[in-house]
Symmetry: C2
Subunit: 218 residues, 2 copies
DNA sequence: TGTACATCAGTGAACGCGCGTTCACTGATGTAC
DNA sequence: TGTACATCAGTGAACGCGCGTTCACTGATGTAC
């Protein structure tokens, strides 16, 4: 993506083909889920023989790892960009929602059913921290009404290693967790189709949850 | 499970072996996820040849369908039992949480990442409706403070076919949806391990969300 | 109670399939003089 | 500018594997007289 300018034609070709492989991988995931992802199937779709892909990825695991990384990166960039453009917490929420709706399976690759035994690559935790930081920043707006001290904010005050580098008070940490879990609750049920036959508009439930978060500080 | 008393020994044996197959299926799902479920692997685990299982299930699809059905049934029974024992909304929430923690992959089989193309068996919608009814009943307690009319409650008043058979007012429908999505948000992130390295106690976040639902009517 | 028959659980061989992955090789592309 | 060499993308054959599923068959269990 970020060419240094000193790329040889061969390097350029390599990165381009890698990107093309990933695109087909995403299409396949969107069509049949991540567990059905197959190198041979991708190769066939690209009109190339199976082993050819091993020039670009060490194997299936490395490809999936790379897709997970890209998904995290994409979400982090989306939120950071929105934040830089002046979006408040509600704006970030809608950026998140749009990002999720654009490719549900990409969302589920991060927040969906975990495969027992599989562990995400280490550097995703750094990207995950970046996402949290962006949201935490938006949770510490000066104008917010002070939230009441609850048993949980007291607990958070003593268990805030995960936000050690952030100056947010416990109430803001709670606000962030409520923001994150509530939006994920609506989004994941919507994307999984659990509202499909119910007839109401999930977007309105999403905004209703947002309004509630804005109204009540906790 | 519910023997009529007029079961022949052979029928009893059949249902027992079917149950044994399902148990091994659940173990396998817990160990490697639902997508890794394999009839041959189950057979090997039972010390029996692969084709033997076809006496009990028409194929892999029927087995999975049956597991999905059982998962729904189990959750519906759990909530109905708790409700019959006098549990209020918070009690039902904890029953839900206990049920989910007892077998995360069973929870994800219902509420996890959908496999594109797969559709749950029809009768699960009936069980799903039973679950909603139980929760909706608990959302219409007489002592609850009247919730304010919001754009979303107005929308729900016009889109309530999914609760057509229930006398709950739109505010109660909203209350149910907030209850459902918020608890799912906390639960699914917890079960997926997203809080694992954060250090706080997910149970306290769960109760904090419950307290918030109790405090604010909407 | 005993015999003749039907039912049915489970076996083992076999089918075709697609998977991930390795390997030796061909042919094109780029590099060094 | 032209030749000699190195690099590397892609091929095709082959490996072993486990999958779902079918089929004809054996042997035990239950049923009818």
């Amino acid at each position: 993506m970020a060419g240094t300018g000193t790329e040889t034609p061969r390097e350029r070709y390599r990165t381009q083909v890698r990107a093309e492989i990933k695109e087909h991988a995403w299409e396949q995931i969107a069509a049949a889920g991540a567990s059905a992802l197959s190198l041979n199937a991708i190769a066939k779709q690209m009109g190339v023989s199976g082993p050819a892909l091993y020039r670009y990825f060490a194997g299936r695991d490395e490809l999936i790892t790379e897709l997970v990384r890209d998904a995290y990166r994409s979400l982090a960039d989306t939120l950071r960009t929105a934040s830089a453009a002046g979006a408040d917490l509600a704006g970030l929420a809608h950026a998140l929602r749009d990002w999720a709706l654009a490719d549900p399976q990409r969302y589920f690759l991060i927040y969906g059913t975990p495969i027992p035994g599989y562990h995400a690559p280490e550097d995703t935790t750094a990207i995950s921290a970046e996402i949290m930081t962006t949201l935490l920043d938006a949770c510490t707006t000066p104008g917010a009404p002070p939230s009441p001290a609850t048993p949980f904010t007291a607990h958070l005050a003593e268990h805030r290693e995960w936000a050690a580098g952030h100056p947010a008070p416990p109430e803001a940490l709670h606000r962030f967790l409520a923001f994150w879990t509530r939006l994920h609750g609506v989004l994941s049920l919507e994307l999984a189709g659990h509202f499909a036959t119910m007839g109401f508009d999930p977007a309105l439930l999403f905004t209703a949850e947002l309004d509630d978060l804005r109204a009540h500080g906790s």
